[in-house]
């Protein structure tokens, strides 16, 4: 019987070597382990063995059984992993086929720039406020210390409406509206559209500005510089240099224009900056006492500063669009780029 067991074991192991499929493995399993299987049959003969022989043969039979079970298991595992491998192989894709990109739109480049500017000032404690685009002479000019015979009005080519109102030429009227509505301290920025009669490669009749106003009991010109230098470094990079030049605006005194070191040549001088190394980005100044009087603030009690910048101009420092009218064609080939 011992011989028989050893023969079965050898035959089974031999047979397993040729197994290629799960079906064959199963029939082989039945051939040996089934109710009428070869191993089962041998085990049935155990009863006829002598008392001495029985434990020995029993042990041997168990060993054969265990080793065959293990061999079957191994074969099964091998078959399965082979099968999985085959399946994975057939599932391989051409990874160069196009991905299914979820749709995703893009904000308008001028709005992207405007939102960056807003974010920088908001983080410095400025609150965003807005105001009407159709304005009166009073808010757009008179209250901003620009009476009708003032030569500074020539600088603003104004769109007038047939009803006598006008399209604001800057976002500055919102300074006046804000001061009329609020008591100091004020720390606001006013992003928005403004309009001037101008239409060429560097001017659009509608453009965007961000206006800023800070009013408190003791605000200095040095703080104006501080806020704007901080803005410029955040907006244009921490290596950015800024210079302030005296200028004239009817509603600020002292007034300044601020330049940043050229973003192309870093101040060395190039075509972009007209070889000066500087690029003008904004106008600013201490709030003129006449403006405070126009809103019933006492210029001896409060001081302040205001600034205003053109968003298209700043956007274009980055984007370098040769004709800024392109901004408002809304050509998708253009909008996709930003």
């Amino acid at each position: 019987m011992k011989k028989e067991l050893e023969a079965i074991q050898a035959a089974a192991l031999e047979a397993l070597k040729d197994v290629k499929t799960a079906d064959v493995l199963e029939s082989l399993r039945i051939e040996y382990f089934g109710r009428r299987g070869k191993l089962t049959d041998v085990m049935k003969g155990m009863g006829q063995l002598s008392k001495e022989e029985r434990p020995l043969i029993g042990k041997l039979a168990n060993e054969v059984r265990a080793s065959l079970t293990e061999a079957f298991e191994e074969t099964k595992n091998a078959l399965e992993s082979k099968q999985q491998e085959q399946q994975l192989n057939t599932e391989a894709v051409d990874i160069t086929l196009p991905g299914r990109k979820p749709a995703y739109g893009k904000a308008h480049p001028v709005m992207q720039t405007l939102e960056r500017i807003d974010a920088i000032f908001t983080q410095m404690g400025f609150q965003v406020v807005t105001g009407p685009e159709v304005e009166t002479e009073h808010y757009n000019f008179d209250a901003l210390n620009t009476p009708s015979d003032h030569p500074a009005r020539d600088l603003h080519d104004t769109f007038y409406l047939t009803d006598g109102n006008l399209l604001r030429t800057h976002t500055s009227p919102v300074q006046i509206r804000a001061m009329e509505n609020q008591k100091p301290p004020l720390r606001i920025i006013v992003p928005g559209k403004a309009y001037r009669v101008d239409y060429d490669v560097s001017h659009t009749p509608m453009f965007h500005q961000v206006e800023g106003l800070l009013v408190d009991r003791h605000v200095t010109f040095s703080e104006l510089k501080g806020v704007l230098v901080s803005f410029a470094r955040q907006m244009f990079g921490d290596q950015t240099q800024m210079r302030f030049r005296p200028h004239f605006f009817p509603f600020t005194e002292p007034s300044a224009e601020a330049d940043i070191s050229c973003t192309v040549c870093r101040g060395k001088g190039c075509r972009s900056c007209g070889h000066t190394g500087w690029i003008e980005i904004l106008g600013a100044g201490a709030v003129d006492p006449e403006v405070f009087r126009a809103v019933n603030y006492d210029p001896e009690e409060v001081t302040g500063f205001a600034f205003g910048m053109g968003v298209e101009r700043i956007a274009n420092l980055q984007f370098r669009i040769p004709d800024i009218r392109t901004f408002y064609e809304n050509d998708l080939r253009f909008l996709q780029q930003f």
Binding site: G105, T162, L214, S230, H247, N330, D331
Partner: protein
């Protein structure tokens, strides 16, 4: 305005380089827009001396010259000019020089003889039209000197941007004053000596000012026996260097003084003045004048004119009259130097569209105290250039003479405003250099009484003085600090949040943000087929539009987006998904709107994600999700008759009774009007209404702990039934136990009878308090089916 380096140096000493001067002026607030080197055209042209001449062996008309240009060896130059002679000094264009005529000088062989340059005529150098012979130069110039330098043509021109508050800088002396503020060097004003004849000017003429409010000062001199002619080279060169045209010696002299002092002057032909006298008055109704530019001008009584006894002879402060201008035959000149009220000149210039050097200065404010120095300076120049004698005395009518303005200045206030710590001495020095008078006041606050010179009409207040101090001290020398004040607490504004969320959502849904002009063409309302009585047609109009396309303010964003679709389609871009958020313009208000368009193809257009044509349900989905993003749930959709839209494919959005917007498929005629060959889907919603309805306050809702049960239900109903009618009944029947109802199929076809359709829903049943048993769900579901049958005639589809 243009100034030149050499011209400025006549009035003040400084040794800045051109670049340095440009920089300093800019930092003083006089922005230098460009810097141009004059004489650059004569680069490579030097002064040479013709040492010797010998005949050209192969040409009769040419000679061989040995020319000394200061180098080691004399150059051999072939020359054919008739006036060439030994010992002559003449300009030599050296090898490589590019002449204004476009010729580049090369080493050449002329009839077999080497020529190392070219001896030049004035014409060849672009100096004059004289081509008769070589330009003869003075023999006291050393050979080798660049010609531009030798002729004094070397100069640097600065183009300045003078802000409207600084008319005092519209002259050489004015800019020199700024350099004085920078350097502290004193001004060198021209010395004027006039030899007068025996005739008293009052015998020759008189000046009457009938409008003293518009003419604070009028002064005149009379010069007799002048000879009109060409101005000398130095004068022409000065004027040309700053871009002023050359006329004749008298007019050129007045223009020179205009540039020197900033005081506009006018020379009349004395004999063309009726009764040889001047009356300054307002124009009479219906009066006319032909101005120097030979244009006939109709005058109105608000305009100030200079008249003789009978008629206007000049438009005061703007332009002289044609009939009294200086001509070749003029012998006697009445020279005007006056001051006019800025607003009046500004109004006249604007009304007549005449912007001259004179009006430019007067409308900004000229210095009344420059009237006499400029008059005398011009008189002197005229006599120098044109001969003649000056009548004795000056007529000077000065009704507008006023006291010098004095302003109190508190030094503490200077530092308070600027954030500086300037010493009193620094402040005093700056004011002194700017020409202000300073007295220390007796009061305790150590303030100053500052006297403002007449040329600084822009300085009227303490703050103006503070700006002057800041300017000269240098903005760059003011410290840079951060605000010390408290940060005001912002008022929360839900509309900002609503806009932000909507924009994020629309971008996330694949739409691109458009920004359009606020303008539109009035015909846009017809193009989108607005009803004749639609209030959106009542748009604000521009009085001075750039073009008809930009002549009204838009009341709806949809036409702009359709324009964008058309533009893109015309450029073969057809995956149109755009939105815009902007105000529109109603009378008296500017409500915010959000609008969008889907047209052409959406999707990736690639294998696995093909293009698809958008349909009604794409735009509806966007609107639904947008409302969801604003946390708005109680809205309703209803079909409308809006002519912009397909009558069967549109819906208005409302909350309660408030209409807040509309969406749908554009009407085929609208598509035609915008030349779109495919359908377009539009929406436009009122941002203010969305902000009013939005509610971002959120509270946690427990996640269900009991399982839910799903049952599908397909019913056959009348074809015309809206798909949400059964849903309402399902909710009404199941109450809280119906968690959701989803329509997952709509079928019309062979499987259902004509006039019917099948709607298939998935109903999710759920209880918050227990696990629903099969029986409970089945009973409820049966109830739903029964009620749908009873109320809608719905048959269960098997």
């Amino acid at each position: 305005m243009n100034v030149t380096l050499n011209w400025l140096k006549n009035y003040i000493d400084f040794d800045f380089s051109a670049h340095d001067l440009a920089d300093r002026l800019t930092m003083l607030g006089i922005e230098v827009e460009s810097v141009k080197e004059l004489g650059a055209a004569l680069q490579g042209v030097v002064v040479g001396k013709v040492n010797s001449i010998r005949p050209h062996p192969n040409a009769d008309k040419l000679v061989l010259c040995q020319v000394d240009i200061g180098g080691q060896d004399a150059l051999q130059i072939v020359c054919g000019a008739p006036n060439v002679c030994e010992g002559m000094f003449a300009p030599v264009a050296t090898i490589g020089a590019e002449l204004p005529s476009g010729i580049t000088i090369k080493q050449a062989k002329l009839r077999g003889e080497e020529s190392h340059g070219m001896l030049c005529s004035e014409k060849e150098l672009g100096i004059s039209d004289d081509a008769a012979g070589l330009m003869e130069l003075s023999s006291d110039i050393s050979v080798g000197t660049p010609l531009a330098e030798a002729l004094g043509l070397e100069d640097t021109v600065f183009e300045l941007e003078i802000t409207p508050n600084r008319p005092d800088c519209l002259s050489m002396i004015g800019v020199a004053r700024e350099i004085r503020a920078e350097t502290g060097n004193e001004l060198k004003l021209p010395e004027v000596n006039i030899h007068e004849n025996d005739t008293d000017i009052t015998e020759a003429t008189s000046v009457t000012i009938d409008a003293p409010d518009l003419c604070p000062r009028y002064a005149a001199r009379v010069i007799r026996g002048v000879k009109i002619g060409e101005s000398p080279a130095w004068l022409k060169q000065r004027l040309e260097s700053v871009g002023i045209g050359i006329i004749n010696n008298i007019v050129d002299a007045t223009n020179f003084v205009l540039m020197e002092y900033g005081q506009p002057l006018h020379a009349f032909d004395y004999h063309k003045l009726g009764e040889n006298r001047i009356v300054v008055r307002r124009a009479a109704e219906g009066e006319q004048i032909t101005t120097l530019d030979e244009e006939e001008r109709k005058l109105t009584p608000d305009m100030l004119v200079i008249a003789d006894a009978n008629k206007p002879v000049a438009l005061a402060g703007v332009m002289g009259g044609y009939d009294s201008e200086i001509t070749e035959t003029t012998s006697d000149v009445l020279l005007e130097s006056a001051n006019f009220q800025p607003a009046s000149i500004r109004a006249t210039a604007k009304k007549l569209g005449m912007h001259t050097e004179a009006s430019y200065r007067f409308e900004r404010g000229a210095d009344p105290e420059a009237v006499i120095p400029a008059l005398d300076r011009a008189t002197q120049l005229i006599v120098e250039l044109a001969g003649g004698t000056v009548c004795e005395g000056t007529i000077d009518v000065y009704p507008g003479k006023s006291e010098l303005l004095k302003i109190q200045l508190r030094p503490d206030r200077v530092n308070f405003i600027l954030g500086t710590s300037l010493e009193a001495a620094e402040i005093e020095q700056i004011l002194y250099r700017l020409g202000f008078g300073i007295e220390t006041s007796q009061s305790e606050d150590s303030s100053y009484q500052v006297t403002v010179p007449t040329f600084r009409g822009d300085i009227t207040r303490e703050i103006d003085l503070i700006e002057e101090i800041a300017r000269v001290h240098g903005y760059d020398n003011i410290p840079t600090t951060l605000p010390k004040g408290d940060i005001p607490v912002p008022v929360p504004d839900i509309s900002v949040e609503v806009r932000k969320r909507i924009k994020q959502f629309l971008l996330g849904s694949g739409m691109m943000e458009a920004v359009n002009y606020s303008f539109n063409h009035p015909n846009c309302f017809d193009k989108v087929r607005l009803a004749a009585d639609n209030p959106l047609r009542d748009a604000l109009r521009l009085r001075n539009p750039l073009s008809p396309e930009m002549s009204i303010l838009r009341t709806t964003l949809l036409p702009s987006l359709l324009d964008n679709a058309q533009h893109n389609h015309n450029h073969q871009i057809n995956n149109i998904a755009l939105f815009e958020m902007s105000s529109v313009f109603m009378r008296g208000e500017e409500p915010g709107r959000v609008a969008g368009i889907l047209a052409g193809e959406i999707g990736g257009g690639v294998y696995g994600n093909p293009y698809k044509n958008p349909d009604f349900f794409d735009i509806k989905g966007i609107v639904e999700r947008l409302l969801e993003v604003c946390c708005i749930t109680d809205y309703a959709f209803q079909k409308t008759e809006e002519p912009t839209f397909h009558p069967g494919r549109n819906a208005a959005v409302s909350f309660g009774n408030t209409l807040i917007g509309i969406f749908g498929e554009a009407h085929p005629e609208v598509l035609e009007n915008y030349e779109l060959p495919y359908k377009a889907y539009l929406f436009e919603l009122d941002l203010e209404a969305l902000a009013d309805a939005a509610d971002f306050s959120k509270r946690f809702e427990p996640i269900p702990i009991y399982p839910s049960v799903q049952r599908d239900l397909a019913i056959v109903v009348d074809f015309g039934m809206q798909s949400d009618t059964p849903i309402e009944i399902i909710y009404a029947t199941g109450g809280d136990l119906v968690k959701s109802v989803r329509l997952f199929d709509v079928y019309v076809g062979d499987q259902v009878s004509e006039g019917k359709k099948s709607l298939a829903y998935t109903i999710t049943y759920h209880s918050a308090t227990e696990t629903l048993t099969d029986k409970a769900v089945n009973d409820l579901h049966d109830k739903v089916v029964n009620r749908l049958g009873k109320e809608l005639g719905a048959e269960l589809r098997m």
